[in-house]
Amino acid sequence: MTQLQKRSFYDLIISAVFLIGLTVVFFSRGGAETYVQDTERKILVAALLGLGYLLLFLVLFLVRLKSKDKTVLMDERDERIILQALGTAFTIFGIYVFILCIGLYEAYNTTGVMPVGWMWFLAYSSGFIAILSRALSTLILYKRMSGHGES
């Protein structure tokens, strides 16, 4: 497993766990309608968001991409995978935002008033969706562009 694969694996786990956590907390006790008035829930979501990003930041330091000896830890194949994964992640991110916005429009089209709590959810979740889709795309591309064998 390359360093970039390791980093993507940890990013995938962290972003998936915190995205699920955020979603569960957000939709508990009344969901978007009561979110803005619920200070306790807002603090909990903010804490989850902060902790999630802190862990993602720690992964950047713990999984090194530089080597002290002559071993190359990242080469042209890794760079190609990064670029392709970013392109895929950007598309997934765009689709997610589009579907959520259209869904909200359809849901609140008749009333003409949308709970502002949904904006919080869009902001919080989109960050983790972007990281999750990038990490997942990276791991899939590695699977397609590598094999297992001798050392």
């Binding site: 390359t2 002559k70 071993t71 080469d75 042209e76 194949r77 397609r144 562009m145 590598s146 094999g147």
Partner: protein, 70 residues
Amino acid sequence: MAKAEIKNNLRRLRFEHDEMTQQELAVRAQCTRQTILALEQGKYVPSLALAFQIARVFGLNIEDVFEYTE
């Protein structure tokens, strides 16, 4: 348009060069061991620069290491 394929003789060349390991080749060609593995399994096509570097490690021309077939 016919699908082109780039094959290589890396595995054979490594064994002919004192059973050079993938790691040794990777260090000398300035790439990762995983890239050498992917090349040998035909799952990755290298850039021209990397192809030249690998050929240089074996002291051969690029055509002796990589083969273009249609």
